[in-house]
C-alpha cells in the first residue's frame, strides 16, 4: 500500500478541466432559483440521490461523478445519506407507481430551500417506459422539478455541467441581491 500511496505523490492528477455550465440548463434555472440561494447555500450543494425507478444506468454515471476524474467534491458538491442533510434531490427513472410515495416522502423530508434535479430521459417523461400501467411518468408528475439533465444516461460531464449551472445561478442570484 505504501508503494501505491508513494506513487500517487508523483503521478499527475487525473482530473480534467471543469466543463462550462450548459447554456440551456442555465436558462432553465433562471426562473427556478431565488436570490437568497447564495446566502443560504454558500458555494456548496449537498445532494441526495433518489432512484425512483431507473434501470440503474443513471446511477452508474452518478457514481462516476465521485471517481478521481470527475471528483465532484472539489466543486463543493457532495452526496449525502439522508434527505434531511440535502439541498438538492437528484431523481432518476420513470417514477414507478411503487416508488411514488417513497419519492414524495423523501421530498417532504428535505428541508427548504431545496431543488430537484431530474436526471435522464426517463425522468423527463417516462422515456421508453411511458404508458406502462406500472409507471407514473416523469419526475415532475410527482414533485416540482427545477432542472432536467437529459441523456440515456447523461455522461458525467453533462451532469457536472448541470450541477455547476445550479451553483452558478445561485452565485448570480447573490450578486444581484
Amino acid at each position: 500500500m505504501r508503494k501505491l500511496l508513494f506513487e500517487s505523490v508523483f503521478r499527475q492528477p487525473l482530473t480534467e478541466p471543469a466543463p462550462s455550465p450548459d447554456d440551456a440548463a442555465v436558462a432553465e434555472l433562471a426562473a427556478a432559483l431565488g436570490q437568497a440561494a447564495r446566502r443560504k447555500l454558500g458555494r456548496s450543494l449537498s445532494i441526495r440521490e433518489v432512484d425512483a425507478g431507473s434501470c440503474n444506468g443513471c446511477e452508474l454515471e452518478i457514481h462516476a461523478l465521485n471517481n478521481a476524474y470527475y471528483d465532484v467534491e472539489r466543486f463543493g458538491l457532495r452526496f449525502v445519506a439522508s434527505p434531511r442533510h440535502a439541498d438538492v434531490l437528484m431523481v432518476t427513472g420513470p417514477v414507478t407507481k411503487n416508488m411514488r410515495e417513497a419519492l414524495e416522502r423523501t421530498y417532504h423530508a428535505t428541508p427548504n430551500p431545496k431543488w430537484v434535479v431530474a436526471v435522464g430521459d426517463c425522468a423527463r417523461n417516462g422515456g421508453c417506459f411511458a404508458g406502462s400501467y406500472a409507471v407514473v411518468g416523469g419526475v415532475s408528475e410527482v414533485v416540482p422539478v427545477d432542472l432536467h439533465i437529459p441523456g440515456c444516461p447523461p455522461a458525467p460531464t453533462a451532469m457536472l455541467q448541470g450541477l455547476l449551472a445550479l451553483l452558478e445561478r445561485a452565485d448570480t442570484g447573490a450578486a444581484t441581491s
Binding site: 500500500m1 501505491l4 431507473s54 444506468g57 452508474l60 414507478t96 421508453c128
Partner: protein, 503 residues
C-alpha cells in the same frame, strides 16, 4: 432416472422453437418435473406465465440439456412448483401478480411485485380493479427474547436502487433478513407485448443498466433463433467484445466498491479509475460509455469506430500494468481480509439448489458459465478458463471477479486479433406467422434468459429473466449469523440487480 429428453417425449412439441424443445405437458408431468427439481437432478432456469399458460425452463446439469415445459391452465390454477422447490416461489408470486394464475397449495401466496399501487390487478391477464384497501404486507415472523427489527429502504443511504430489507437482529447478529422488492417494477413484459423488435431490444437494453449489452445480446439472439437468422461473423465477434467490456467495467467497479464497504477507500479510488478507462474506451469505440443500443437483432448497429481498437488496446495495457498491484494490495491487507474472509458464506449445496449463476455460483463450487456450458459463438472458438472456488464467502466472490477480469482481458485480446472483416448487420426478415426463440447469454452477473414469441414480426410475448431471481434469496441465507455491519459487504459482493429483477 429419466433424462430431459424422456420428459420432452412425454409432451407434445409446440410450434416453432429455439435450439431447445418446448413441449406442452399435463399436470402430472409438470409435477414430476417439479419433484425432479426438488431432488436436485435438474436446475430451474425460469418460470413464467401467459394469459392461460405457464412455462418452465429446466436444465439437466450433467448434460447441459435444456427444455421448456408448458402447462395450460384454463381454470387459472397450476400445481405449485415452489411447494417442492423453493427457488420457484417468487416466480410463482409474480405469475399471480401479473396474470392472475395461482400456484395451487403454494406455501407463500403473498403478492410480490404488486404493491397495490397499479390501480389494476393482473395487468397482463384478466385485468380487474385494484382492491380499495389492501391488507398491509406481512413479513415473516422471527420470535425470541431480545430480538429487534431494523427496516431499511426503499430509499437507501447510498446511490443505489430501491428495495426494502427487513432485518431481525439479536444484538448485532442478524437472525433473519427478509427482502421486499418490486419498487422499480416498470411493467417491461407488458410494454413488450405488441412491440416491434426494434422497440423490444431498446426495452431489453434498459432492463438492467449495468447489463445493457447482455440483455440486448440475449434478446437479439432469441429473436434470431426465432427467425432462423444467422448474423455476420464480424457482428458475432463484436458482440462478444461488447459483452467482455461490460463484464470488465462491472467487475472493476465492484471489486473497488466491496472494499469501500469495508472502509478501504484506496482500492475504491484506484478501481474507479480503471473502470472509467473501460467506459471511455467503450465510448470511443462504440459511441456510448455503457455501449447501449449497439447490439440489435441481425447484428450490431455500429461498427467499432476509427481508432476504437487502439483505444481498447491501450486500455487493456493500462489495466495489465495497474491491476496486479491492486490485487496484491487486496490480498495483503489484513484489515480488509478480516472483513471478507468467512463473511457471508454461501454453501455449495444451496448454490446448486438455486442454480445460482455468475460469480455467486462459481464462488460456491458451481462451475456453470453459459459461455462454456452452452458454448455459443464466438466463445466456442476462444480460449478462456472458468474460475471456480468452494469457499463461498465474500473473499471468494472477490477472487472469482479478479480472475474473471484477467480472463476478460485475454478474451478481448483474442477477439481484437481475430476480428473478421465484413458487414456488421443483416436485415431482419419479418418471419412466418408465429415464431418462437429462446437464448441464454452470460452477463457479468450470470445467465440472462430471454424467451419470446413473434407473430407476424411483432412481439406477442417476451419474458426476460435476470440471474438475480435466483441470487436474491441466497443473500437472505448468507447474512444469517453475520453482523449487521457486514451486510453491505455481503450485498455488494452479490450485487444483485433490482431493476433486472423487478422488470
Amino acid at each position: 432416472m429419466p433424462s430431459l429428453i424422456d420428459l420432452t417425449l412425454e409432451g407434445r412439441k409446440v410450434g416453432q422453437y429455439g435450439p431447445w424443445p418446448r413441449v406442452a405437458v399435463d399436470a402430472s408431468v409438470w409435477t414430476f418435473a417439479a419433484s425432479e427439481l426438488a431432488h436436485g437432478r435438474w436446475s430451474l432456469l425460469g418460470l413464467w406465465g401467459e394469459s392461460a399458460t405457464v412455462h418452465m425452463a429446466i436444465m439437466d446439469g450433467q448434460t447441459a440439456e435444456i427444455a421448456v415445459v408448458s402447462l395450460e391452465c384454463p381454470d387459472r390454477k397450476f400445481p405449485s412448483v415452489g411447494k417442492h422447490h423453493p427457488p420457484a416461489l417468487r416466480l410463482e408470486r409474480t405469475i399471480h401478480d401479473l396474470f392472475g394464475l395461482s400456484a395451487e397449495s403454494s406455501p407463500d401466496a403473498r403478492r410480490w411485485l404488486d404493491h397495490n399501487r397499479w390501480s389494476v390487478r393482473f395487468p397482463l391477464g384478466g385485468r380487474i380493479d385494484a382492491l380499495p384497501n389492501a391488507a398491509p404486507y406481512r413479513f415473516l415472523a422471527a420470535e425470541g427474547d431480545g430480538l429487534h427489527q431494523i427496516a431499511v429502504g426503499p430509499v437507501h443511504a447510498g446511490i443505489i436502487e430501491p428495495g426494502h430489507f427487513r432485518f431481525t437482529a439479536s444484538g448485532e447478529t442478524v437472525v433473519r433478513l427478509e427482502q421486499r422488492l418490486g419498487y422499480v417494477h416498470k411493467g417491461i413484459d407488458g410494454l413488450m407485448t405488441g412491440a416491434s423488435l426494434a422497440r423490444g431490444v431498446q426495452l431489453a437494453g434498459r432492463t438492467s443498466g449495468d447489463s445493457t449489452v447482455a440483455y440486448a445480446y440475449a434478446f437479439s439472439r432469441a429473436a434470431e433463433v426465432a427467425l432462423d437468422l444467422a448474423v455476420p461473423d464480424r457482428a458475432v465477434f463484436l458482440r462478444a467484445l461488447l459483452a467482455e467490456l461490460e463484464r470488465l467495467a462491472n467487475h472493476l467497479g465492484d471489486i473497488g466498491a466491496i472494499c469501500n464497504d469495508a472502509s478501504f477507500t484506496l482500492m475504491h479510488a484506484h478501481c474507479g479509475v480503471l473502470r472509467e478507462s473501460v467506459l471511455r474506451a467503450g465510448g470511443a469505440a462504440f459511441g456510448h460509455r455503457l455501449m447501449r443500443d449497439v447490439v440489435v437483432p441481425g447484428g450490431v448497429s455500429r461498427d467499432i469506430g476509427n481508432g476504437g481498437a487502439e483505444t481498447i488496446q491501450a486500455m487493456l495495457d493500462n489495466i495489465r500494468l495497474r491491476f496486479p498491484a491492486l490485487v496484491e494490495l487486496y490480498d495483503n491487507t489484513a484489515s480488509l481480509q478480516d472483513r471478507t474472509v468467512d463473511t457471508g458464506t454461501l454453501t455449495p449445496p444451496l448454490a446448486r439448489q438455486y442454480a445460482a449463476g455468475g460469480y455467486i455460483g462459481r464462488a460456491s463450487g458451481r462451475a456453470f458459465d453459459t459461455r462454456r456450458t452452452l458454448a455459443y459463438p464466438p466463445y466456442d472458438s476462444l480460449r478462456f478458463d472458468v474460475p471456480v472456488l468452494n469457499e463461498g464467502d465474500v473473499n471468494a466472490r472477490v477472487w472469482i471477479r479478479v480472475r474473471e477480469v484477467e480472463q476478460s482481458l485475454s478474451l478481448i485480446d483474442q477477439i481484437l486479433s481475430r476480428l473478421p472483416e465484413g458487414p456488421t448487420c443483416k436485415e431482419v426478415p419479418l418471419g412466418g406467422e408465429v415464431r418462437e426463440g429462446m437464448a441464454i447469454v452470460e452477463g457479468f452477473r450470470g445467465d440472462v434468459l430471454v424467451w419470446l414469441r413473434l407473430r407476424n414480426g411483432l412481439i406477442e410475448r417476451c419474458h426476460i429473466r435476470d440471474p438475480s431471481w435466483f441470487q436474491w434469496p441466497l443473500l437472505e441465507a448468507v447474512i444469517e449469523n453475520n453482523i449487521v455491519a457486514d451486510f453491505p459487504l455481503c450485498n455488494k459482493s452479490f450485487n444483485c440487480s433490482y431493476s433486472g429483477h423487478d422488470l
